[in-house]
């Protein structure tokens, strides 16, 4: 199957991979293609990603889908047959929205003003990833889009993205939270001590170590939030339904560097285990290798002195050495990439689409350059 078919057959395309491989650019390029093909498309990215905003012609991205003006496409010689919207995830804002949607009005301000909540909503591991998935569910449920492209957060282990909902669910496990919402929590430890000596001992020590105020905040937070947990649990189940659904395709974006490929391999294996199999691979920033023709050629591209003689004949002896040296450098780079990529591919299921995108010697900075990538992607 081609990547084109894969994108055509899915409503949700999620680009995953480690940081610095051009994931955002690939996601944006797929989204632009969707709009050109006549599908109502949204691309969801993770803040700050200003590069994406700029390349889409917007000054900034908002936390609501914002349509790219048609004139911007037309000005760059493109004819979209359906609208393209872009939005950026604001983690803090998304948590606040979730609280506002589900919390009873009287608890709302107390939650939003709670110091522990403010900390949690910004730094809890997996929180950003979870909110991206939550936003994705909102977009899917809106029914307003035929294609939703998600650019995942640049986590060290892209896997965090897939495990985030489960982690949040564990975190909000009611059987544990009940410790924190007991009315006697803030009254003192005596009641708790009767229940569980170990827990009480530990909590007492932690209280001493951390200072009381932090724990009081935590307690207050859970007391205020307790009504929300059932809702969260339902949302999290829904999130996994969307992620595992037949309409969702995970595409791994990688570059042919050793470490990055190692991460991608690990990711692909783990995705299988989690029931969210990888459905496509984009190998980005590839350097092409020129192979010898093998028909008794006059010149072997990997023979430095033959290359220098050829170039001396073509453009003169003055320029030949530098040109030949540069060519040899890029050949070496390409050979290494080629070897590693072949190894990587040999471990993938054979049927999944695999495309290579060359390393463009320019910043991708506008709609036209995003569209230029289509020749390689589709």
């Amino acid at each position: 199957m081609k990547l084109r078919k894969l994108v055509e057959r899915h409503q949700v395309v999620i680009s995953a991979g480690s940081g610095g491989v051009g994931k955002t650019t690939v996601a944006a390029s797929i989204a632009v293609w969707g709009a050109l093909q006549g599908r109502r498309t949204a691309v969801l990215t993770i803040d700050p990603a200003r590069r994406l905003a700029t390349s889409l012609g917007l000054a900034t991205l908002g936390h609501e889908p914002r349509e790219i003006p048609r004139e911007l496409f037309v000005a760059q010689g493109l004819e979209p047959r359906a609208p393209l919207s872009a939005m950026m995830l604001d983690q803090k804002g998304a948590w606040d929205a979730l609280v506002e949607r589900h919390a009873p009005p009287e608890a709302r301000d107390r939650i939003l003003g709670n110091a522990f909540y403010q900390h949690l909503s910004q730094t809890f591991a997996g929180s950003q990833e979870y909110m991206a998935i939550e936003q994705l569910c909102v977009l899917v449920e809106s029914g307003a889009y035929d294609l939703i492209v998600v650019d995942t957060p640049p986590t060290r282990h892209a896997l965090d993205f897939l495990e985030a909902p489960r982690r949040i669910d564990d975190f909000l496990d009611r059987s544990v939270i009940k410790w924190f919402v007991r009315p006697y929590w803030s009254a003192g430890w005596s009641a708790l001590r009767a229940v569980n000596r170990t827990a009480s001992f530990l909590l007492h020590r932690l209280e001493q170590a951390t200072g009381v105020s932090a724990l009081a905040e935590i307690s207050d937070f859970f007391a205020s939030m307790s009504g929300l947990f059932e809702n969260f649990h339902v949302r999290i189940e829904r999130a996994y339904e969307v992620l595992r659904g037949p309409g969702t395709a995970f595409v791994v974006v990688s570059s042919p560097e050793e470490q990055v490929l190692g991460d991608a391999e690990y990711l692909a294996a783990k995705m299988n285990e989690l029931g969210m199999p990888l459905k496509g691979v984009v190998m980005n920033r590839v350097h092409p290798e020129l192979r010898a023709g093998g028909r008794g050629d006059v010149v072997d591209p990997d023979d430095a002195s033959e290359m220098e003689r050829l170039l001396a004949r073509a453009v003169g002896a003055a320029e030949a050495p530098a040109l030949a040296a540069n060519f040899a450098d890029y050949q070496a780079l390409a050979r290494g990439e080629q070897l590693r990529t072949e190894q990587f591919r040999s471990e993938l299921p054979r049927a999944i689409p695999f495309v290579s995108v060359p390393n463009f010697a320019r910043d991708v900075h506008d709609l036209a350059s995003l569209a230029a990538m289509h020749a390689h992607l589709f």
Partner: protein, 320 residues
């Protein structure tokens, strides 16, 4: 003021994909080669710093790679348990405590405790003494990629300011004092000379020097393409490709394409390195070359460490 590379504690920060671990490894090699007893620290266990330095991963306890170089990876959770082991000095209780769900829960929930303990572990190694001398002459810390690794560096201050008076606050205060000491600590930023990386590096730089009050070290610009071919030379190769036949034509076209690619990157890199220089004024900037290697190994790390040495304006090497 102490020159950035003459300090003891070096944090290497930067976004994912800019070569932060490579630069950390090259810095560690540099100091070890100059006779300093050097510890390379990976702030989140499971990364590739130990492998790049040619040693096995070692979580929690430094392991020697060669005479002057050791490496250690920190696992925040393990560091926290180590710390609690000091607070709760009853062995038997500890294991019960660590396996209890309420503890697991607390670790997940307590604001930044894990991060604080990670930085605390760095502090411990930086202040640890063996006999009359410090355990290490130099410590290089490879920070995590998320949010430029600033999240970790911010945590001691956050803990100091948000936790009530208690042990954690006292510990945090000590850590902050060390991190903010310009005679001891340098926070180096690794970046690429491209549009977004430079913009983000300037923002991180402002964060570090501003609200975080941490001593900025050098900005290290990694993977600089340097060859420039005049447009007419590339054109001439292109025309020669058109005039030639068969394989020769293909090869010449490829030569022209690679020359154009290299020139293109060199121009982008030069432009954004200039932007960095203009914005940062006097701050030290060290440029490292793009390495065209089939495989990236020890020789490449060695080469980069030599280039760092040239760019770092270090005092005369001392011999152990």
């Amino acid at each position: 003021m102490t020159a950035p590379f003459a300090r003891r504690l070096h944090f290497v920060v930067g976004k994912g994909g800019v070569g932060k671990t490579t630069v950390s490894a090259a810095l560690a090699r540099l100091f070890a080669r100059r006779g300093h007893r050097t510890l390379a620290v990976e702030m989140e266990a499971g990364g590739r710093l130990p492998a790049v330095l040619g040693g096995p991963p070692s979580v929690g306890t430094p392991s020697a790679i060669d005479a002057n170089l050791s490496v250690v990876s920190i696992d925040g959770r393990a560091a926290l348990e180590e710390y609690l082991g000091l607070v709760i000095p009853v062995r038997r209780l500890l294991s019960t405590v660590f396996s209890s769900r309420i503890y697991q829960y607390f670790v997940a929930a307590a604001p930044g405790l894990k991060e604080l303990m990670t930085v605390g572990k760095v502090w411990y190694e930086a202040t640890r003494r063996e006999g009359t001398r410090p355990a290490w002459d130099v410590i290089i810390v490879d920070a995590p990629a998320t949010g430029h690794g600033l999240h970790y560096l911010r945590m001691p201050q956050a803990a100091r300011d948000t936790f009530g008076a208690g042990l954690v606050q006292r510990e945090a205060t000590r850590v902050v004092e060390l991190l903010q000491d310009p005679a001891t600590t340098a926070v180096h930023l690794v970046t690429l000379a491209e549009d977004m990386p430079v913009t983000e590096t300037l923002e991180a730089h402002a964060q570090i020097a501003g609200p975080l009050h941490l001593p900025v070290g050098a900005v290290i610009v990694n993977r600089m393409h340097a060859r420039r071919f005049a447009p007419d030379v590339i054109e001439r190769v292109g025309r020669a490709a058109e005039a030639a036949h068969g394989d020769e034509s293909t090869i010449l076209a490829a030569v022209a394409a690679r020359a154009a690619e290299e020139s293109g990157w060199a121009a982008i890199n030069a432009q954004h390195a200039e932007r960095l220089r203009t914005a940062l004024g006097q701050a030290p900037i060290v440029e490292l070359p793009y390495l065209f290697a089939e495989e990236f190994g020890a020789a490449e790390i060695e080469l980069l460490s030599r280039r760092l040495e040239e760019g770092a304006a270090l005092p005369a090497a001392r011999r152990a």
